[in-house]
Symmetry: C2
Subunit: 206 residues, 2 copies
DNA sequence: CAGGGCGGTTAGCGGTCGTTAACCTGAGGG
DNA sequence: CCCTCAGGTTAACGACCGCTAACCGCCCTG
């Protein structure tokens, strides 16, 4: 796949600005005119790119969930391949670290999307909501499986609760102040990573 | 103060139902007619109790923030008194445990309010929003102070980030399934408590 | 150089929302 | 016995919102 250096298409501009606005003021709190103005066109011009306001939210939420799940699957496969072929410092702990790292990257780089992800799900039409819910569930179950490999004594319901709670922890990035006031991306990522591991350890090594 | 055994007043009914509805569908997603219907009166009847829809949200959010801060101050005072008078198993660690316990109680018992608390803040008028923000900031700083007593090596910005992140963890209760599907309140509370302590330890004992 | 369609524009429609106005009723006190 | 007033009701207004209709210019192609 080519790393895209192209200018973003108009459609992508719209999605990005819509995500920001939805995250800031809520889906119902943003008008189509505002979304249009954010990309330099006005109101109804959006309907050349999307069938409606709902469709923008749907594409955003499905995209987020799918991207998270796809990334996690890729990391899982990479780690399994590594541990299978060579005797490096891998193992289930490394896979868990990789999942955490991926989620943190997402939470730090796409804050508006992380905000929308657990906030505006109920505004979707039934079909879209079911799809997003299914992707989210797969993502959670993937984490639960890896977590229980690291801590085999952990029962499944507890593992699931722990995963949801750590998502809450990692998704707290929007509350950590604007990107400028952060002590640096790497520092924040490391802090979140250690806290997530600590939280898991506290419930897994009971 | 008398522990209230009275039937809830109409005003309290309205606030409770409004909180539930706002949490479910967002502030802009709920009409005044629905709030009225939820308490058995209809639409404009609400204006005998509140000057407007905004005022309901404002009272809810200020109430939450104030209640959290007041409870935390009380716990801090109680713990300080205990450690000051006798040589029991207290100390800053016990204070931190008490803060965590209080926050968990709130997150488990008032899920709609916890949801609103970090979701609809921007819908407030400037004055109200400033007040809520100030209460929230005091609450955070109180936690930061206690946390840095437990882990003196922890720098202040890191401590503040850690507190926000643990709030994210504790406030994940709305995602843990409906109250019925939980493995029992005490079990969930214990799990959250251990995870919070583990997360703090992981960043404090670096 | 004609023409078609992509990507815009403005005007406006229908519905919904928060709020106000005007009216009503039943209980309590002088 | 009347008056007041708290706590409702319905009707309606004005604003806003999502979306459609109708129109238009530019670029690309045959």
């Amino acid at each position: 796949m080519a790393t895209r250096t192209d200018a973003p298409t108009r459609r992508e501009q719209i999605l990005k600005e819509a995500a920001r606005l939805f995250a800031e003021r809520g889906f119902h709190g943003v008008g189509v005119d505002e979304i249009g103005a954010a990309v330099g066109i006005s109101g109804p011009g959006l309907y050349r790119h999307f069938p409606g306001k709902d469709a923008m939210l749907a594409e955003l939420l499905v995209g987020i969930s799918d991207s998270l799940l796809t990334g996690a699957k890729r990391r899982l496969a990479e780690a399994d391949g590594a541990t299978g072929s060579g005797a490096d410092a891998g193992g289930p702990g490394a896979v868990l670290d990789s999942l955490i790292e991926g989620h943190i990257d997402f939470a730090l780089d796409d804050r508006p999307l992380i905000t929308l992800h657990d906030r505006e799900l109920d505004r979707l039409r039934d079909a879209d909501r079911k799809m997003v819910r299914q992707l989210q569930r797969q993502y959670v179950e993937l984490w639960v499986g890896v977590l229980r490999e690291v801590y085999p004594a952990l029962a499944e319901p507890a593992a699931r609760s722990a995963v949801h709670s750590v998502f809450g922890l990692l998704n707290s990035t929007p509350h950590l102040g604007r990107p400028g006031s952060l002590p640096g991306r790497a520092v924040t990522a490391s802090l979140l990573h250690r806290m997530a591991r600590g939280a898991f350890a506290a419930v897994g090594e009971a």
